[in-house]
Amino acid sequence: MDTHQDGPVRRPLQPAAANPIPLLRIEKASKRFGLVTAVDAVSLDIHRGEFFCLLGGSGSGKTTLLRMIAGLELPDEGRIAIEGEDVTGAPAYARPVNMMFQSYALFPHLSVEKNVAFGLQEEGRPKAEIAKRVREALEMLDMGAFSARKPHQLSGGQRQRVAFARALVKHPKILLLDEPLAALDKKLRERAQFELVRLRERVGITFVMVTHDQEEAMGMASRIALMQDGKIVQAGSPRELYDAPVSRYVADFFGTSNLFEGNIKECARGEAAVESAEAGTVLRGQYGERLAAQTSVAVMVRPEQVHLSREAPQAENVLRGKIASAAFLGNCHACQVTLDSGKTVLARLSPAEFGKAGSPAAGETVHLFWPSAAARVLKQ
């Protein structure tokens, strides 16, 4: 948006390392399609070397946000900057980012080699350099033997590699991946997932990936932003999102959880006491922001954090219930315990732990408990 475009390009001064400019900064970016707000004032910083994942259901705005980074959609409001340089209005062809499309979008009339060379040719690179870089990119992905093939002569997995090579060969500052594994069958997907992480470490390029699959996000990303209705609900490491979700939606999105409705009794020293009718007792758990008494909240406990014993233990958060079912799943025992209030609690115990608890069978009365540090108080 600088009016003085001629003359040497002014490189922004690099400030002290303590406050580095993020590789990508999105400030209050919004995009509307007719009456639908696809992306609603999203702000986000992504740093060099991250494997960032935009996660969300369909219609959450994750793909639109990715396309805005690519320049395929221009934001109605807000700002996008790459390495501190404003690219808000820059068209896709002028941005130092490349995208791997969900459908791969390999040019059907061009051979694998020419597909990969396309972007370098547009940069006006010398022929020898193009040939060398194309060959290297294809060889890195074990596609060297297929350079003369046309896309329709390749399998899905091979096409994915070519699309990846085509985007990677330009050495983009950010590689955008739109559901990169969605078109592969399940078996291939697991392998490709692993390969993608390995490749990212090898080339050292920042990845921003869109996916609807939370397992995929958890397994690959260094940081995840969960989106809902065009907004980022929570951003953080997979661990943070799993252990400390900010809302029921986030807790639900990442695996199963036990939720106990209740009202805040008191909040002190990072721990909240919640009066829960469902649990039939006062539950303690961590909270993110201080909440006033009587605020209605939910206490979340992951099933694998729940302990079981026949005798009443000397601990916090002890509940009593009857085992409704106990299923052996190989790596764990999944027990459904019905409380007096009628609420069903899911507990997942390792075989050793289950044995220590006396291998209770269905119908037996047991005590459930967990440390307060494993419980999380959720506002919404």
Partner: protein, 298 residues
Amino acid sequence: MSGRPGHSCSGVFVAGVPLVWLLLFVLLPLLIVFAISLAETRTGSPPYTPLFTWEAGFLPRIHVQARNYALLLSDRLYIDAFLSSLRIAATSSFIALLIAYPMAYAIARARESVRTPLLMLVILPFWTSFLIRVYAWTGILNSNGFINNVLLDFGLIKAPLPLLHTEFAVHLGIVYSYLPFMVLPIFAVLEKLDWTYLEAAADLGARPLKAFLRVTLPLSLPGIFAGVLLVFIPALGEFIVPELLGGPDTLMVGRVLWTEFFSNRDWPLASALAIGLLVLVLVPAIVFFRLMRKEEAA
């Protein structure tokens, strides 16, 4: 196939009907025309000598001569007619392509709700007779026709422009008449084109014009080939347009053929011209199908 008699029976029927049709209404007439082209003119009905005569004995005598073909290849008039037909058909196909491509592109990229109406507008002229539509142009291009009157009224010209009965008018007539044949196949290809390819091209650094030249245009080549063929072939043998809009010096095979057939009553020579035209048409058609097969094989 023999294992499933019912299947093969219906298969023979399905393939057989068009085959019989083609034999009866395409190959047979063609053979008759070819036979006539080998005969000689005579006064009488029919105005050509018979191919076979039974004089004595059982064996028929065959009267065949290739003089008409020799004439086609030696007489300047016929050579010029073929060359000028080729030239006019080529230039008008090219002009039609230049007009039709943007049209097809615009329709293919239009919202779905307006796409069908726009296509209808392209096809609509077919609802009127071809002859009448071409004839209507004489009224527009006349020295006291619409265009000249408007230009004279505005004082842009002092004397009427000679528009009608020129080669320009022939080009105009052919382009106007056959434009839908160019628009439709190109549209069919562009409509199926995945626009993600263009996004990918932009993402890889191609500006819109480069993306068009490197992605859209090569991917729409089958439509362009088909369209050019559909315009070029009928334009090559076109009779009505040069007859109504062309000048006395506009030489085209269709016109020469007509003259030989109706004015000179030289059926054999007219037949030879028709066969010559067919050969001329077959060449680009074969080239086209070769190209298509190569495209598919690649």
